[in-house]
Amino acid sequence: MKQIDTLPKLLKRNYETWGDTRIAMRHKDLGIWQEYSWKDYYKNVKCFALGLKSLGFEPGDKICIIGDNEPEWYWAELACQSLRGIAVGIFVDSLPKEVKYIVDHSEAVFVVVRDQEQTDKIIQIREKVSKVRKVIYWDPKGMWSYEDPFVMSFDQVKKLGEEYEKGNPGFFEKEIEEGKDEDLAIISYTSGTTGEPKGAMTTHKNLITTVSNWFEVEPWHYTDKYLSYVPLAWIAEQMFGITGGLISGASINFPERSETLQSDVREIGPSMILYNSRMWEGLCSTIQTKIEDGSPLKKFLFNLFLPVGYKVADIKMSKKNPSLIWKVLYWLANALVFHSLRDKIGLLHTRSPFTGGALISPGTFRFFCAVGIPLRTIYGTSEAGLCCCHVKEDIKCESMGVPLPGMGFKISEDGEILWSGDGVFLGYYRDPEKTAEVLIDGWYHSGDAGYVDEDGHIIYLDRMSDMKELASGVKYPPQPIEARLKFSPYIKDVIAVGGKPLSYVVALVQIDFDSVGKWAERQHITYTTFVDLSQKPEVYDLIEKEIIALNRSLPETTRVKKFICLHKELDPDEEELTRTRKLRRDFLEKKYGELLNAISEGKDSFLAKSEVKYRDGSRGETTILVKIKILS
């Protein structure tokens, strides 16, 4: 591997090895899978690169690319890198303002776009990005009335490249040989939830070593089929589709449109797939709705066998071997239901279904494991590349997996996750200050809080900035605790409080009146109102069980020690919630200050007086004895 140290060199190797004999890409266009061999891939990159060259592209220049996942994106990126340039990806749905910032900040000389919509964005900001010489589009639809020399088509550039090749044979090959592993390959702009986006600079070495290291635990073969769907502006797709495809020689498959994804996936039958967690969640609910609409027999079989799937998935996740009877039942479930379900969604041949981007909800994760699609979480950042993932059978719903080979990993004293190794980036483009903040002594400070559990898995808690502190100085993540508790059908809302008077986490739980009410009816527990139901000892026992289950997945110091069931529902009219039903944490801590004091003093109940604002504007007061329950 040593001598092949850049992406264009890998492309050249694949072209020389496989040429016309193997498919590098498949793209569904006009209803037909258009196939591109490694030779086609190489030729397209070559023509486009030489076209850029004849338009004055120099080593170190940047191009921005905006568009959906299509072969042209790959060609444009590799073409730019062949000339020792740097590719900058921009998300398709970026606003002109955001596009302007990135194009301007990256000092791009060309912008390669998919279609008219993106071309218009660039034309709109043209005055403000004076370095841009041309916009190059690859989908001619709707472009017939553009006569501006500023706008050019992908094919025109390729034609220029063919002309250039005649005058300068061997130039392209020489340029590829000149490339070095420490050259920048891409700059990925991070989404910038805080302030302006920052451009993380990634070298060829970063990309190739991280992916090679990852392949040691998760090998790809040249016979594999990968589905390219997550945006290429995201580092993960750069690692998977571009770098992974080039290193392994696996074919990259592009669906026709996002609307046709489902049927296209089924036609491809990918062996590798990466969806972000939201897409898995969407797929999960699509399946469930489809089954609801299905015939009674299908519905019956599905509902009969799904619990078997869950049971076996749970046994496997706890690293035990299912007993013979479960094996037989699962075989039956698979033969009757799960096999055809996986076939319908096109994931029958998927060896490695990956999820990334954000933590996936445990319900979705278990569902896919149950039907025989063992999801694996992969965690990566623009700054450190691929960091950790689930390896083979070592799957745990709440974890992010184990660090990949070659990655240095530690948890700082504050509980922050730090990374070092070949994957760590050079710094932010044109921003040494921000770089110095996150890159200290070769360790990249991710800003994510986490810890390592007994199996060596990394558990993500929250962003460092969202962590709260207990009186003892220990930090705890309120949002994940709340999110996991809210997953219980009996809990509608919950506030996890630590703060000044408390040296442990207290949960203020608002029960779900409907589902707890139904549960109470089934248990023959009589109740009148929300206040009455919330204070029933049986309800406290019910909620206690949920919290105990949660505590098992938390480290000792941040476990929930005490909880109460709130005697009233949280209400935006009382300013406890925002209109979008998010908790107003500071307000709530003040409002329930006396209650929290009582808890910290070790009392077992509290006489709550709360002012109620009725919807007609009048005010009233209620008093109620709220129990405080201590968990053993």
Partner: protein, 269 residues
Amino acid sequence: MQEKIFGENKSILEIKNIHLSFGGLNALSGVSAEIKEHELLAIIGPNGAGKTSLFNCITGFYHPQKGGIYFNGREITRKHSYKIAQMGIARTFQNIALYGGLSTLENIMAARHIFMKTNFLTGAIYFGWAKREEVEHRRVVEEIIDFLEIHHIRKQIVANLPYGLRKRVDLGRALALEPKVLLLDEPMAGMNIEEKEDMARFIIDIFETRKIPIILVEHDMDLVMDIADRIIVLDFGQKIADGNPDSIVKNPKVISAYLGIKEVKLAQS
């Protein structure tokens, strides 16, 4: 602007003084009009004014009792509708007339029938020329599917599609005839604003890329004013106005046809 793009704008379809009656009911009485080679013409008028009847006369579904219709100088007044379609006049229908049990693809493919040279037997054997021909037509159809952005419903049965999409398939089928004149009968009726805007964009795109005249019957006045080059107004089977959108809105005859004479007098006083 139009002149600049297309050069000389001569007339392609002429309607000369046609009369159409059903028993005692005069649907069209003495309507004359001409359609230029490069224009987007809208026909408007109150319900029962004879707009669809005029379309049906042009496309050979009805034959007028008097008068004549000339396409590129050839008379088509008494021709059968399929002959007229073969000559290059394609239309969509107000009430969508697709094959409900077939898929989107099959519906549009069916329109290519008029271009197919192979017969039933060779088609059944599906070998050599017949196969090549099918592939060729499929490509044209796929380009239309791409143009109208209906990839995702390519294989769906048309009867199950929502109304707005069925309208689009109907338009796709008309395009598959590679028309020299395109007649659209209320292409935007019953659509929501977003669907209407999409459809308007498709109509303008067809007009610009294919460079063919389009005749449009439509009730949405804002839209008609936006996209049409010229407007003809019918009322009780007679043409009462003909001109550019600006002159039409000011025309007192048009106002009275739409609002009634009493109201106009009331407004004037």
